[in-house]
């Protein structure tokens, strides 16, 4: 069932509990690896969820539940890198080819997750987090000092409590929700998906929320320290704040489609740009958060 890759797995300690029936046709496998600091763990799953959470120590534990014998799990360890891969066999489809992965990794590990259908989730990590899905919903929460790179076609993306992050998200039609997300760079590019930000635009960062046709809604407190510019070429813009005007504006200001200015000491740069989506910078009441 499992094709281990001979000499590539020399450093791995692998425990396989194969053939344990969960339900009709389900197969559970467990893999354990000893890794060093900042290990890289990669999972490529055509169909099914992948979730990652931190574990103390220097082990990576992967539990895979295969939906049928139409799919296999390839795995290997090369040095400090662990790779998991779902291999579809002839006749596999979205249901029989499904594998559910649950990963426990050291918190400083770098993870790369791919699934067409997902969902993908990661929490409590501090390394690089790269997630890619077609229709997969993607969720990242409680990460600190991490680089987060996400690509989806129409899967929704939700980030919660990301501090000191470097965040880059591209989604074609999935909505993007950022809750308490701060960092040196927070960049979202969306085609038709909506972008929702609720936070304080902290960390002296650059925040770029860009959409083609999707609406952008950003909540910030009165105490936010931002230099903001917003423009929708063919859409409406609204601003609930009383911004200090800037000396220069980056584009021709038209009252109904753009605004810019500063709030507080303008520590962070905030750009809210859309082609035809509506942009609304909203004031968040301090009581609600």
């Amino acid at each position: 069932m499992m094709r281990s890759r001979g000499n590539l797995t020399k450093a791995a300690v692998v425990t396989i509990l194969a053939g344990v029936a969960f339900g009709a046709g389900e197969i559970r496998k467990e893999f354990r690896y000893s890794v060093g600091p900042k290990a890289t763990v990669s999972v490529t799953n055509q169909y099914g969820p992948v979730s990652v959470r931190p574990i103390a120590g220097n082990q990576v534990i992967v539990t895979a539940v295969l939906n049928s014998d139409k799919v296999e799990v390839d795995q290997n360890q090369t040095g400090n890198r662990v790779n998991m891969f779902s291999r579809l066999l002839p006749g596999a489809d979205g249901e029989t080819g499904k594998v559910e992965y649950d990963l426990q990794v050291p918190s400083d590990a770098n993870v790369m997750l791919h699934s067409n259908t997902g969902p993908l989730s990661a929490e409590g990590l501090t390394g690089e987090i790269a997630m890619e899905g077609t229709t997969a919903a993607v969720e990242v929460r409680n990460v600190d000092d991490a680089h987060v790179h996400i690509k989806t076609l129409d899967g929704p993306v939700t980030l919660t409590n990301v501090q000191k992050g470097h965040v880059e998200i591209t989604s074609v039609s999935g909505d993007v929700n950022l809750n308490q997300v701060n960092g040196m760079l927070v960049e979202v590019n969306s085609n038709s998906g909506k972008i929702h930000y609720d936070g304080n635009f902290g960390d002296n960062g650059q925040y770029r929320l860009m959409s083609n046709t999707g609406d952008i809604e950003a909540f910030a407190p009165d105490t936010a320290s931002i230099d903001v510019s917003a423009r929708s070429i063919h859409g409406q813009v609204e601003n609930d704040f009383r911004l200090e005007p800037e000396q220069t504006t980056p584009f021709l200001m038209r009252a109904e489609s753009a605004f810019s200015g500063t709030l507080g000491k303008a520590a962070s740069s905030v750009k809210l740009h859309s082609f035809s989506g509506k942009i609304h910078l909203k004031k968040r009441s301090t009581k609600s958060k």
């Binding site: 891969f85 291999r87 690509k151 076609l153 129409d154 070429i233 082609f275």
Partner: protein, 207 residues
């Protein structure tokens, strides 16, 4: 020897060295001389890289996507539902990486240069068909997706249609106001998103 003959013999000249005839022609023809010098440089760089570790599959994917978008390669990679490419195939073609990469860089460089010097030309970067089916490249991609993962075809089709529709709107907007830098940025962003869809469609992940 004329230019056509020189260029026809270029592969042999690069392999075996210049002949007296080719030397004479190259000496008298600046264009052929420069072409020969550039190709020799590329082939020497390729030789140096033969022994290096095989590049990550994402590099292959990116190169393939770019070459496909440029129309330099066609259907071969689409054949069959191969989720995992043969290892030997990659090694056999490994020497092509620097050449392909150079092509990609040169093409990108030219595009960036043209963009900087003539920003209004962005609106005409890639004509998008007004038909719902999108471009020929879109159709190829959808066919490949349909063969490999039929359940995702509709998602890709909808998203490509969505992006193409937006690109047409943005192009129209730019035609009305060619100097609008924000509109230029938005349009470039849309092209990048379309490239991302292509990349995800052709992704052939490996451990």
């Amino acid at each position: 020897m004329n230019c056509a003959e020189f260029q026809e013999l270029l592969p042999e000249i690069l392999d075996s060295g210049e002949t007296s005839e080719s030397k004479v022609h190259a000496h008298s023809c600046k264009e052929c001389s420069e072409l020969y010098a550039e190709l020799r440089e590329i082939s020497q760089a390729a030789l140096l890289l033969r022994g290096v570790e095989e590049p990550n599959l994402r590099v292959w994917n990116s190169i393939e996507i770019t070459l496909r978008q440029e129309g330099l390669i066609r259907d071969a990679a689409l054949a069959g539902p191969a989720l995992v490419p043969g290892h030997s195939r990659n090694w056999r073609l490994a020497w092509l990486v620097p050449i392909a990469a150079l092509l990609v860089v040169m093409t990108s460089g030219i595009a960036i240069f043209q963009r900087n010097s003539q920003p209004q030309s962005i609106a005409n970067l890639t004509p998008i068909s007004t038909a719902d089916g999108g471009t020929a490249e879109d159709q190829e991609i959808l066919r490949a997706i349909g063969e490999r993962t039929p359940t995702l075809r509709a998602t890709y089709a909808a998203d490509l249609q969505n992006i193409n529709s937006y690109i047409r709107d943005a192009q129209d907007s730019l035609k009305n106001d060619p100097g609008d830098e924000e509109a230029q940025r938005a349009l470039m962003g849309a092209y990048e998103q379309r490239a991302m869809v292509y990349e995800m469609a052709f992704e052939r992940p490996l451990p």
